[in-house]
Symmetry: C2
Subunit: 329 residues, 2 copies
């Protein structure tokens, strides 16, 4: 085994998992967005932890307050995708030396803003010294076994729906990486989607209660990657016939001669939900989402054939499982 | 506000806390070893998260497997101190580039070893890229509100007891920092206490069931610091009249002309439990601990006078609130 071999994030997770004894009767398999412990009576304690790392997850112009809020939102988004209400949050924070009291205050404010925006609280945590900013957030919730939306329930014929349009964060990240203030002020909504992400919690909670959702995931690793994740877990394929793109992402792509489909499919850090719905559940899902102000968009269907295809403007192509992955860039 | 001001770990935690809205009716106040969410019927969901950071928490000769196991043990130890059984663990791992598959395997094995040693399982987690090794562990458990042992229940007259002797890890850390193989093999038990720490889970669970424990903490920040923490939370003082020191720590201190009391009081990363017991509970606590093979040692008593004093060999001195703190060294 050579040193300096770069393993992919997925391979690392798989390698670690292979060393772990599996808890008997685990209610949610490894690899879904959250984990669970059975409380009996069909109740699950739902748990999630994920960390934000300064070097890879915080664009240069993002403030500490925004970074701390994002660390919360990215965890809440996974609860949203599963339809589970977050009840309490813990944080474990690694801070580089040299932060001022004001810096630390901003981190506290960002954590609180993220928690309160989604109706929950930070109830504890710990802090220590690290080489880089590390904000690990843990989320706790309780749900009925029957209402949680996992990745593995999609069936051929199910409808694929999303809670919004794509491409904004991919464009926003490009803008932020260029370090041009003028560009940033022209495309404010695009950069805002990166700096102040929003988790679709109300949508996830409402949709989970309809009983028509068969699988769900958030698009934090990109639309393409997330579709492949559901396809793999559910052993289905997808035929996507509509690619909902944010108008501003379209304008940015045109002005900068970028491939729009790439922005929409491969961008990450976007927190829309991607769900599959029972064939006759479309109207019910649409009405449920509308009640919380969300215009659900139908983008295709699940297929028995295990390919993930995009069929627009008369052409059908495979959607590659690209997306943001650590250790790759 | 100047840059590069070094804030103490406690000040950082306080600063962050001040920004947080407090959850109404929080069953365990901020600042105890674990946090909790009330499930009703006097049941609490107990949560804890803490991270191990390569640069500050992993001595040079510690293997990745040992480091991963330690990340689990240090979290389990907090559950032990509260008398709560850990039911499930999650990990969030930041890895520097350049680790081999074997390195990652070792991390997985260490996590699993730590979990299985204490009867629990890793049920999920996430991984990403970081500048340094970061292993954040989250623990979940359920307990009766009445049996959990907090920091704030000590009363004047209570007996102070500990589950073992002190000084080994402080000596062990000194040995490991010197990078001399001969020294390491001569003092194997001292270095082992650092590399393969042990959490007093059975002791904590058994003692919590006696109903005679009024306060409890682990000694991971050092005996002196931990006594001060209970004193502060319970608004009492302590008169310590016995300092249980490990024989090997005594021998090492003599050979190296070190102050033994300092090794025993100020060393950290030692996972003994420090508990206060109702005045008439001593025999019951002692018997309970003996049933799980632990020889409980009585080291003093809680006082109304709010000083933390050491009175041995006819001399009485204040025990200073020293101990291991990040950002200080």
């Amino acid at each position: 085994m050579k040193r300096n071999v770069i393993m992919s994030e997925r391979r690392i997770i798989k390698t670690i998992q292979e060393q772990l004894d599996e808890m008997p009767n685990m209610p949610i398999p490894f690899g879904d967005d959250v984990s669970a412990y059975s409380l009996g009576n069909d109740q699950l304690a739902v748990l999630k932890t994920d960390m934000l790392v300064g070097r890879t997850d915080v664009p240069r112009t993002m403030t500490l307050r925004q970074a701390a809020r994002k660390a919360v939102v990215m965890n809440i988004s996974d609860f949203a995708a599963k339809g589970v209400k977050p009840l309490a949050l813990l944080t474990s924070i690694g801070l580089p030396r040299g932060l001022t009291e004001r810096d630390v205050e901003q981190i506290g404010r960002g954590l609180n803003a993220g928690a309160r925006q989604y109706g929950t609280f930070i109830i504890g945590g710990d802090t220590g010294e690290a080489s880089d900013l590390i904000i690990s957030v843990s989320v706790f919730g309780i749900t009925d076994k029957t209402s949680i939306m996992l990745r593995d329930g999609a069936r051929p014929g199910d409808i694929v729906v999303v809670t919004g349009s794509f491409g904004k964060t991919a464009a926003g990240l490009r803008i932020l990486s260029r370090d041009q203030q003028k560009l940033e002020s022209t495309w404010k909504n695009l950069t805002k989607s990166v700096l102040m992400p929003y988790a679709r919690l109300r949508e996830g909670l409402t949709l989970s209660r309809t009983g028509v959702v068969t699988a769900s995931i958030d698009s934090s690793d990109g639309l393409a990657w997330s579709l492949h994740e559901i396809a793999r877990a559910s052993r289905v394929g997808f035929l996507i016939d509509k690619l909902p793109v944010a108008e501003e992402a379209r304008a940015f792509a045109e002005e900068n001669k970028l491939e729009l489909a790439e922005l929409a499919l491969d961008g990450g850090e976007e927190y829309e939900l991607i769900l599959t719905i029972k064939p006759r559940g479309w109207q019910e899902a649409r009405r449920a989402a509308a009640r919380v102000g969300c215009n659900l968009v139908r983008i295709g269907k699940a297929t028995a054939e295990k390919h993930v295809l995009l069929s627009v403007e008369g052409r059908t192509n495979r959607i590659k499982a690209r997306g943001y992955e650590h250790f790759k860039s």
